[in-house]
Symmetry: C3
Subunit: 277 residues, 3 copies
């Protein structure tokens, strides 16, 4: 059993520095709604985004990538084919793959695509909202559109179950984020409710996790630190003036770039992480 994840500001700083030093090429197959945001978030952490998602080219780019994000927001045949092709090639080469199962549980099409991806691709991390994670774990969940509704007391157990089944680090994002590895579960207490007022914040967390997965050896530590850094950036975004969702979003993207290793070193973050199991 591995050591517990270190949640000191120094440890977080080291992870942030690892991303900036490694400058991982993060290939992101994602939906058209948030492509621009995801690319900017990736740059903000110090990684290099590339969004190549044509079915023919996706596996070629996966050969160059340090991490691959599979966001299932768009269900066209072309996108689904590219998700499989890139995931397969990345697995062959040992490149970590992150899954963001957007809207899992809403339509039969998504049901089939997510089941197929989970069967054929091995993931370093899987990130969903409570509803999506609950659905993938096999429990019942109520998902409206791609937004998750309601609270799930059992979310820690669902995340753990999904981590056990898949071997991935599982991040269930919600009011409090749950991060599970196959043998443990953490609660990450960071973030801000304004993140729920703008589109794509879930997708942006997926990009964040891919940037961290492409820079760190330990998948679970990468998931915890990525989730923690993301939430802290969301909080720190309120240090600047904002008048609603759009100006908060500008602050948030600035805040990601501003959460440098130097800044992180000085943060008191120990109480943000609690081990549940």
């Amino acid at each position: 059993m591995s050591d517990d994840v270190d949640a000191t500001g120094e440890a977080l700083s080291d992870s942030l520095a690892a991303v900036r030093d490694r400058e991982p090429l993060v290939q992101q197959l994602t939906n058209e709604v948030t492509k621009n945001d995801l690319a900017n978030v990736t740059l903000g952490w110090g990684a290099i985004p590339v969004m190549a998602d044509a079915p023919g080219e996706a596996p070629e780019m996966a050969e160059l990538a340090d991490a691959v994000l599979l966001n299932t927001g768009r269900m066209t045949d072309s996108n689904v084919e590219a998700l499989h092709a890139a995931g397969k090639r990345a697995n062959e080469l040992g490149v970590p793959v992150v899954l963001d199962p957007v809207g899992a549980g809403t339509t039969p099409t998504r049901e089939e695509v997510h089941a197929s991806l989970l069967e054929k691709v091995e993931f370093a991390a899987i990130k969903g909202n409570y509803g999506e994670v609950t659905h993938l774990a096999g429990a019942d969940a109520d998902v409206k559109g791609v937004e998750s509704i309601g609270e799930y007391e059992e979310i820690a157990e669902s995340a753990l179950a999904l981590a056990e089944t898949t071997g991935a680090a599982v991040v269930a994002s919600g009011a409090e984020d749950i991060v599970a590895g196959p043998d443990r579960v953490y609660r990450v207490s960071a973030g801000h409710e304004m993140l729920t007022t703008i589109i794509g914040t879930g997708c942006m967390l997926g990009s964040t996790l891919a940037a961290f997965a492409g820079s760190l050896e330990d998948d679970l530590a990468a998931a915890v630190h990525g989730t923690l850094a993301y939430g802290l950036a969301g909080e720190r975004a309120t240090d600047l003036e904002y008048n609603g969702p759009a100006s908060y979003r500008v602050n948030f993207l600035d805040s990601i770039a501003g959460l440098t290793p130097d800044v992180a070193t000085g943060l008191e973050t120990m109480d943000r992480l609690e081990r549940l199991h």
Copy 2:
């Protein structure tokens, strides 16, 4: 013949509250240029966006939706197939469908697609700029790209004609917005010229109308109140500092979220609505 639309601040407030209470799931098949904006606008009004537009999945998502927006900005085969599939399924289920016929009158391809959609799908509302509405109504119009050029004195008559033919509430957006039902025409005096300096404001009005159509019983009242609320948000965006189109856009998106039912109650809006016929 129905009653006149009530344009008091209280009536507008009630409509805004209806959107927030209903939290309609608004499925939006739209172009890639403005997908992110449309999703954020929808959230801003308190509705829930879902942009699922793969041909196979679009009708599945229409079964879950409270309103469907068909924006014809992108003319790929996949998009056109999805527009028809979602529109058909929504019609079968009685889910209101809003049409935004982007660039109607520019190319033969758009001519054919718009004619086909008007023939096969029944719309609760149709929104275009002066040129697009004039074109769909059968009159000559001069459209450059997807921007409408020139003034059309006959726009009220064109909107009325299109409303009569289709049964839809028709919104012709321009310096002054015209909203027509089959038996009447209103002028809505709200908005700001800065809205013409940013991309996608027409598309964002389409999303707005879909959110209102998914929350209110009366299609014409939904179109009038959606148009009015949108224009007021555009005006109120100038209350905050801006230095050009991009900062105005941030203000505008903030302003949509800030036009709460409480705020609307206090507004003097009676003189914003004039019945022309």
Copy 3:
């Protein structure tokens, strides 16, 4: 041999005024990551964007366009087919075509698509980063994802070689921008390092060049003035407060719209342009 490009503020002002007077319709076939930005940049210069990129419709829209931008960011079959169809039709009609060869040199797919476009379409301008231009010119280049890495001392020679081979004005963007015609090379010293912190600034320069190419007779002067105006807007964006990449981006888009002919007249820009060969 033509006269040297005039880099006075008055000359730049004349070019900016030409764009605003002509209001060229700029058709842009581009990637999904930056579509919204490109459309807003185009509007900012006073041109009219249209992003029609379905294979069937693309050549129809090219018939209406004053300039066509072919950005190769997305390599789906549909996009590649549309790039060829629009480029061919624009060539037939004498509409200037601008190429932005995104990620040239990264994957076999891109290799093939760029070679094919260069063989079959005639370009008024080609814009890439140092790595992309070097690659297209036939020299070795190191490109990571779609970001160019490292410095290339030979970039002026590569740009000149590519201009000679293709007849296009070639813009190699980097710390200093190089603009080459078939018989000369300029260095344009304008821009700001913050431009490297946001996604799509290279693509936005491509849109800028297309707007200028659609408004001016001389392809080389259009490329020089477009590049200079773009860099100046990037510098002037720092006159307003910003806290990171996202707020800088808002400033930058505002700054483009704010670089009016009147403003440009008063600028000392002579020392921004140096002829190298």
